[in-house]
């Protein structure tokens, strides 16, 4: 039994907005895998709650005419990975959210909750950030759009204003078209884990596949909120694909990131991980784009391990194929 003082339930966005206006101090409850835990632990015990879990209109993924991918804020992680639009156009997001916790957490956890709680370790956040995702909020005045990067105000703080709820995340076509990405989650075990560092890199290559034409590097846990390695991106956006480039990018991200010492991991380990994971994710993203990094020995190419298994719609085999 949760220590909830009063619970209000919204079935539509309009109901949610009016409840938000009527009860501005009430906590928004999406999937609950974060909020319910805080209620139980005492941090939010005795709070009022607005449950928006029942707003089915906020579930699902579609593509707008201009190619923008729109993900309803209540879409669960498992449904994102299972969605053919994501699989086809934004594979790395499907992979990233398939690394959240375990299957049951991915069934309840929502992408809206994962961004609205402002947590730096959110597995969806670094990839969304690396694709310049735009947040859509709906409030009494209608819809408001802002870049995800601006949505984060500080640890645990996001720009959800009075009367608003987050209604979708939008990824513009120019962000994903021609780009391939890779997400690495580093944790102490292979499942049921929060990231020690999460790193999402995506690239676009020239026609010859010998140089970058675009580079985006985003991190979780490298700072108080999910962040981009802007200096490095600027410096290496069109670099040649060589071993030296990879190494230089690894060194360069250290000037972008500022992870903390915590009991979960010391700062220097996190910094090292930022460096190494940028290199690894870059190499893998290049590989996915069909590029080759000249001079890189095979033994240095990051090994694909089974952390990389993703339960896309086509995962597993049709029994009929197996029978043959």
């Amino acid at each position: 039994m949760y220590d909830i003082e009063h619970l209000y339930e919204a079935k539509t966005v309009e109901e949610a907005v009016s409840l938000r206006l009527a009860y501005p101090d009430a906590v928004i409850l999406a999937g609950g895998s974060d909020v319910l835990i805080k209620i139980r632990s005492g941090k939010l015990a005795g709070c009022d709650v607005i449950s928006i879990y029942g707003i089915d209109a906020l579930r699902g993924i579609h593509m707008e005419e201009d190619g923008t991918i729109v993900i309803g804020s209540l879409t669960s992680f498992s449904h994102i990975t299972q969605d053919p639009i994501i699989e086809k156009n934004l594979r790395v997001l499907g992979e990233a959210v398939d690394k959240v916790g375990g299957p049951q957490i991915r069934a309840i956890g929502t992408i809206g909750g994962n961004t609205c709680n402002g947590v730096t370790s959110a597995d969806s956040a670094s990839t969304l950030l690396s694709y310049d995702a735009v947040v859509e909020l709906t409030g009494p005045e209608g819809k408001r759009l802002l870049p995800l990067a601006d949505f984060y105000l500080g640890p645990g703080k996001t720009d959800v204003r009075e009367g608003e709820i987050q209604t979708s995340l939008r990824i513009p076509k120019e962000s994903y078209e021609g780009h391939e990405g890779y997400y690495i989650k580093f944790g102490m075990r292979s499942a049921m884990e929060i990231a020690t560092i999460g790193c999402s890199v995506n690239v676009a290559l020239n026609d010859e596949k010998t140089a970058l034409t675009d580079l985006r590097i985003a991190y979780g846990v490298a700072g108080p909120v999910p962040m981009r390695a802007k200096k490095t991106e600027e410096a290496f956006r069109t670099a040649e694909l060589t071993c030296d480039t990879v190494k230089a990018i690894g060194e360069s991200v250290l000037s972008d990131v500022h992870p903390r010492d915590s009991w979960r991991a010391p700062k220097n380990l996190r910094e090292h991980l930022c460096r190494q994971m940028a290199e690894d994710a870059l190499v893998m993203a290049v590989k996915r784009s069909g590029g080759v990094i000249s001079g890189m020995p095979e033994s240095d190419v990051p090994a694909k391990d089974f952390l990389d298994i993703t339960m896309f719609p086509e995962a597993g085999l049709d029994p009929k194929e197996v029978a043959r």
């Binding site: 991991a265 380990l269 090292h272 460096r275």
Partner: protein, 774 residues
């Protein structure tokens, strides 16, 4: 044909698969009162005062009780058999609620309320005033002059210091040409993580107090509840239903005494006290963190000349199982690798951390990590093949331990090593993996162990068994030894079927222990159960059969010594003729109007032997030297646990132990805030026990050398599988990278600086280091 050695399904498998099995929380009245404990938020303090007025005023609160309300007499909690000799009794240092807070989370007050939310709200309203004291978390710091003292009776916080000396180390090491190998080895505090939390409920009936508890040791808990409450032992009844794992945590009285007392404070109404997962982590027991300092002097050919060991065990705030855990480990050192000159010292020391209790392996996973890491280091230093070195220096066949009288009867060590070596292809791989370069490196490692069976002669060993013949000829068997998930009931059924001479399907094991009706037995611990209960069953079955055959004379006219019970029938042994079925006999006898008899037998069996159990682990890892990650690619445990009663169940149990060992090696540790003493990661997300994605296939082999002292040839298996895993993985990482890691768990936090020192990882640039200080 005997059912011993057959992989029959568990007797409780159907109900568990159907989701019907009832555990403590499933049996509790849903309207029972809810008890919640207020835990101190300081690591060391005296409670000055507690204001409960606001909590008491909250509607729905039935009572609020503090450390000033509870009985004065202290009590012990360890799940040891009691001793009537005062000097052998467990240390009494607990109160139901304490005025002297000795660790962050210690129990200072309790609320009883009508529902959980109210109880939790009431806890927040209790105001405690503390006289805060300095605290100490590290074992060696706690031994220093001037360290905060936890228990007045124990200067320098030393609960016990015992030694194991023989020969003369100081003279022996003067021999010229000896090579000295020294190492410090550190093991972490870890938790059992049984998936069912510790839980109990209590109520009064006919003036007596009943506690239904998730415990491994119902008869012992009965004694402890009575001691804690200061009431006659017979006034307490403990009921133990199915439980969701124990691993030693529940070999202790946890909250049963407090729950019983709270029920008595509210007029005997049913009170439920269920630990949350966080409380299971913070307020139950843990595996002792033990630090070892080993020094060995060896000849160039490896001959062990002298050895010194210092073992520092972090006991935490209260004695619980205390020094027994550390002493057991220390005493194993000269047994595993006999040495003519030995000087071992073990210290068990109080600190302001939660108490260490029993946990699977009872000190052995700790010492074997130290000793098998050290052994590998010696072989490496001498340039010897580490497997051959072990074969040469391990306990030899015929070795007898002077204290326990345990004997190595067969060439077990060589046998298990041969099986493991072959399964792993260890020798070839070990050579192949030396001197690798590149980012990803493979390695193989091995470690051996021995383990006791049961607790004799340290403590009393006894097991009671009752058999009742039902009208259909089925024996009903009841023992004090407990099913805690390991499969005891199934082994008991198999042994009973064999000993009585009935088909397995006819045996009914009464799983639940109820101290009002269950014969006295001390419970599940020390990997004792198939060994001791086997003797109890064999003894009781002899008595049971004798009574049956003597009574059967009346209907068969055959002398008892000419008859036997086989496959559920009374047979004439001279010509194997079936005279009558056991069912026919039982029915006839029970309703015999002339000589009616309800046939039962009950026997209490004392055991005065112990048995060595042996085994080894071989592990293969792949190390990502850049990301500081270790992946276990292959792992093989080989055990000699004597006769295997049920190979499928035995294997399953070994796999569980290997899993626990992988966690101990690579990821599990409890982290304490150095500033406050608070446990930082007491939940299943931040405490990293292995998931199904963290293991390879767990390969298991048994070498069967039946134990001569055992009624069914069995010896310990429950705990041993966890013991050799961590050092095998450590030695595999050493093979892969040349880096010797001497502390557990070997997680990235430790690998990163070690790999940096070894030149496997580049330093972070200097300018970045400076930036850290900005």
């Amino acid at each position: 044909m005997s059912v011993i050695g057959e992989s029959v399904p568990r007797v409780d498998a159907y109900d568990k698969a159907a989701g019907r099995t009832k555990y403590v929380d499933d049996l509790c009245d849903p309207h029972a009162l809810v008890a919640k404990v207020l835990h101190a938020n300081v690591a060391h303090a005296y409670v000055k005062s507690i204001d409960t007025s606001k909590a008491k005023a909250l509607p729905g609160v039935v009572g609020v009780y503090t450390c000033f309300d509870v009985p004065e007499q202290p009590f012990p909690t360890a799940g040891h058999p009691w001793s009537t000799e005062v000097e052998h009794q467990d240390v009494c240092d607990r109160h139901l609620l304490t005025r002297h807070v000795r660790y962050y989370g210690d129990d200072v007050a309790a609320v009883v309320a009508e529902d959980e939310v109210t109880a939790k709200r009431a806890l927040k309203l209790i105001q405690v005033e503390y006289d805060v004291l300095p605290f100490v978390l590290d074992v060696q710091e706690a031994m220093k002059d001037g360290a905060p003292l936890l228990h007045k009776k124990y200067p320098h916080n030393i609960l016990a210091h015992t030694t194991n000396y023989h020969g003369d180390v100081e003279s022996a090491i003067k021999e010229p040409g000896l090579i000295r190998v020294e190492g410090w080895y550190d093991t972490p505090t870890v938790q059992h993580c049984h998936i069912e939390n510790a839980s109990c409920f209590a109520y009064m009936e006919n003036g007596r107090i009943t506690v239904c508890a998730s415990t491994q040791i119902p008869h012992i808990v009965r004694r402890i509840v009575a001691q804690a409450l200061g009431i006659d032992w017979g006034m307490v009844r403990i009921i133990k239903p199915y439980i969701g794992g124990g691993f030693g945590d529940k070999q202790d009285a946890l909250y049963e005494p407090l729950c019983a007392w709270l029920s008595m404070q509210v007029g005997g109404r049913c009170v439920r006290l269920a630990c949350t997962r966080e409380e299971t982590f913070e307020n139950c027991r843990v595996r002792h963190a033990i630090r070892y300092h080993l020094i060995s002097w060896v000849k160039p050919d490896g001959t062990l000349v002298a050895r010194k060991a210092e073992c520092f065990s972090n006991q935490g705030a209260y004695t619980s199982h205390g020094h027994g855990v550390n002493a057991k480990g220390m005493n194993s050192i000269p047994q595993l690798y006999p040495c003519p000159n030995v000087a071992c010292d073990s210290y068990t020391v109080y600190t302001n951390r939660q108490p260490g209790g029993a946990m699977r392996g009872y000190g052995m996973p700790q010492v074997i990590f130290a000793l098998e890491s050290h052994t590998e280091d010696i072989a490496r230093k001498l340039g010897l093949d580490s497997l051959a070195y072990r074969r040469k220096t391990l306990m030899p066949v015929g070795f007898v331990d002077g204290f326990s009288k345990n004997e190595l009867y067969s060439d077990t060590f060589n046998e298990v090593l041969t099986v493991g070596e072959k399964a792993m292809d260890y020798e070839n791989k070990h050579r192949l993996y030396e001197n690798q370069t590149g980012r990803y490196r493979k390695g193989v490692g091995c470690a051996v162990f021995w383990y006791n069976t049961a607790v004799w002669p340290i403590a009393l060993e006894t097991s009671g068994c009752r058999m009742v013949l039902n009208q259909d000829g089925s024996p009903q068997v009841q023992v004090g030894e407990t099913e805690i998930g390991q499969g005891a009931d199934t082994a008991i059924a198999q042994m009973t079927a064999d000993a009585v001479g009935v088909p397995l399907s006819k045996v009914h094991v009464i799983s639940c222990q109820d101290t009002d009706v269950t014969p006295y037995g001390t419970g599940a611990y020390a990997s004792r159960q198939t060994y001791v209960v086997g003797m109890a069953i064999r003894g009781c079955a002899e008595e049971f059969k004798r009574k049956i055959l003597e009574s059967a004379f009346e209907y068969t006219r055959m002398q008892p010594y000419l008859m036997d019970i086989r496959d559920g029938n009374i047979v004439r042994t001279t010509d194997n003729r079936v005279l009558m079925s056991l069912g026919e006999f039982a029915l006839t006898r029970l309703y015999d109007r002339e000589h009616n008899e309800h046939l039962t037998a009950e026997k209490s069996t004392q055991i005065k032997t112990n048995a060595y159990s042996f085994g080894c682990c071989f592990a293969q890892v792949e190390v990502d030297t850049k990301l500081c990650r270790v992946k276990v690619e292959k792992i093989v445990n080989v055990h000699d646990a004597g006769k295997i009663i049920n190979p499928a169940l035995a294997r399953a149990q070994v796999q569980g132990g290997m899993s626990m060992g992988i966690g101990y090696a690579l990821s599990e540790c409890m982290l304490y805030d150095q500033k406050t003493g608070r446990l930082l990661n007491g939940n299943l997300l931040d405490y990293k026990l292995s998931t199904v994605m963290d293991h390879p296939h767990l390969e298991v082999h048994f070498v069967e050398n039946p134990e001569p002292t055992s009624a069914f040839g069995t010896k310990s298996l429950g705990e041993p599988p966890v013991i050799p895993v961590a050092p095998a993985i450590r030695n595999a990482i050493l093979n892969a990278t040349g880096v010797a890691l001497n502390a557990l768990p070997m997680r990235p936090h430790q690998l990163y600086p070690a790999f940096k020192d070894a030149g496997l990882i580049e330093e972070l640039p200097d300018e970045n280091k400076e930036a850290q200080h900005v």
